[in-house]
């Protein structure tokens, strides 16, 4: 199943190219312009956000594919006849989604690692671990949404809402202290906040252990939610 999901991603290399183009627009247009408006260090501060947003888009593609398998391609019943237990099936879909997300963001992660001066250091592995752990949660969320969304509009709406939450109610663009006190807990529990903090720790040559261990919490919770929803969904 994991191999199949990765093959689906590679069956359309154009799609990976477009995702990289998306990342480039975010980094070299938006982040660069804000760097000019606010200061050069600001560009480096928000740069990983471009890659994590691409990871988020790639992760949501997994949920969208599952939704399409059921409602458009009518493939779900065939897949469920395969000799795999439901639990392994759910686990494979999530793992496949994470692998796809890491592959789709591979060039972006390298670009950010280059900007942070860790491209040729063992810390490059940490950068990929951050992307993978972050993607785990988003893949879980997207699969949970795909299990309950009866129309593509509902799926797209929830996806937009999640993307808004992850992008604007996190520390991608501004420090948590700038938010009103009432919103700060929402920002501090946002997985994007901790993925950003982990990347920033890489930039400052600090330890990523703490932000990654905090990030694992919501990521595992969302992955579990995705797996449970998928198991419910496979009961048809």
């Amino acid at each position: 199943m994991i191999e199949r999901d990765i093959r689906i991603l590679f069956s359309d290399t154009f799609l990976i190219g477009i995702m990289f183009a998306n990342f480039c627009i975010d980094l070299f247009v938006t982040a660069a312009t804000f760097g000019n408006l606010i200061g050069a260090s600001y560009f480096l501060r928000i740069a990983p956000g471009s890659n994590l947003i691409t990871a988020m888009v790639a992760a949501f593609q997994s949920g969208r594919d599952i939704w399409r398998e059921k409602y458009i391609k009518d493939l779900a019943s065939y897949l469920l006849t395969l000799p795999i237990s439901r639990r392994v099936f759910a686990f494979s879909r999530i793992t496949g989604g994470v692998a796809r997300s890491v592959v789709a963001t591979f060039p972006g992660t390298l670009v950010i690692s280059y900007l942070y001066g860790i491209l040729f250091s063992p810390r490059l592995i940490e950068a990929f671990v951050i992307v993978a752990v972050f993607s785990l949660g988003i893949v879980g969320l997207s699969i949970a949404v795909s299990a309950f969304a009866s129309t593509i509009e509902v799926f797209a709406t929830v996806r937009s809402a999640v993307q808004l939450y992850l992008s604007f109610l996190s520390t991608i663009f501004y420090d948590v202290s700038l938010f009103p006190a009432i919103v700060q807990p929402i920002v501090q529990t946002n997985p994007m906040t901790w993925a950003m903090e982990a990347f920033r720790a890489l930039q400052s040559q600090g330890s990523t252990l703490y932000p990654i261990s905090v990030l694992i919490g919501p990521s595992l919770a969302f992955a579990l939610l995705g797996a449970l929803c998928y198991l419910w969904y496979t009961r048809l």
């Binding site: 359309d12 154009f14 799609l15 477009i18 995702m19 183009a21 998306n22 627009i25 975010d26 070299f28 247009v29 938006t30 660069a32 312009t33 804000f34 000019n36 408006l37 606010i38 600001y42 888009v57 593609q61 969208r64 594919d65 399409r68 458009i72 129309t151 593509i152 509009e153 509902v154 797209a156 709406t157 937009s160 809402a161 808004l164 604007f168 109610l169 663009f173 501004y174 700038l178 938010f179």
Partner: protein, 242 residues
């Protein structure tokens, strides 16, 4: 056809809710917080507020492409083609419906920004609405062109999202030209969203007409409405795009 497209958007309140939510968060969270950090460009919030309305118009106008793509995929297009409407009216109706519904949807956001920024001159407001309508009409044509040219659903989804991102970001809608990196500043003046944003700001702040922006917008409408109509027509009647 136009009436049907307008009704379609309002039958899917999810889209309206998500885009409205995006606009509110973008304006009252992102623009508000980031304008506190932008010290090199005083008045970033009002600049961003007008630009975000222009971006929303472009974004909503792209939705017609999703509708057309889905209709073809779900087989609804075959039914629509049996209706007693000439093909040309059918295509113009789609474009017009897409543009009008984008305007209906954006007007409350435009009103919110007008109240926030104290825009009260009726002529300026009318000129700004006209600019926004021209942008909506042109983007609808662009969206139809992409919808009938791309075959894969995944590709279509990502291509349209990328186009939406590119025309909005590489424009002066959200960021001033002087602060863009040189490679973006070189192309941004030719973006249709730039034409609309500059023209709308000239009408609202300068109480004047930005002729370059207006001519650019009219050219954009003519080109992409023509292309969209040609591609759509060919797809409906067979040929290279069928």
């Amino acid at each position: 056809m136009a009436r049907r497209d307008i009704a379609t958007l309002f039958r899917t309140p999810w889209i309206i809710i998500s885009r409205a939510l995006a606009f509110i968060i973008q304006l009252f969270v992102f623009a508000y917080l980031i304008s506190g950090l932008v010290v090199k460009f005083p008045g970033f919030f009002p600049y961003y507020a007008v630009g975000s309305v222009v971006s929303v118009v472009a974004s909503i106008s792209f939705i017609i492409g999703y509708d057309i793509f889905e209709e073809a995929e779900e087989g609804l297009l075959d039914y629509l083609l049996t209706l007693p409407i000439p093909r040309r009216e059918f295509i113009i109706g789609r474009a017009l419906g897409g543009a009008i519904r984008a305007m209906i949807y954006t007007i409350p956001m435009f009103a919110l920004v007008a109240v926030l920024e104290n825009f009260s001159n009726p002529l300026s407001l009318i000129a700004a609405v006209l600019d926004l309508f021209l942008l909506a009409f042109g983007v609808t044509g662009l969206s139809i062109t992409v919808a009938v040219s791309v075959r894969s659903a995944n590709r279509f989804d990502v291509v349209l999202a990328l186009l939406e991102l590119a025309v909005s970001r590489a424009s002066t809608a959200l960021y001033p030209l002087a602060f863009m990196p040189s490679y973006v500043a070189a192309i941004a003046p030719f973006s249709p969203v730039t034409f609309a944003a500059d023209s709308t700001r000239a009408a609202l702040y300068g109480l004047s007409l930005d002729l370059t922006g207006l001519v650019g917008l009219l050219a954009f409408v003519a080109i992409f409405l023509g292309l969209g109509a040609t591609f759509y027509f060919r797809r409906l009647e067979g040929g290279v795009y069928a």
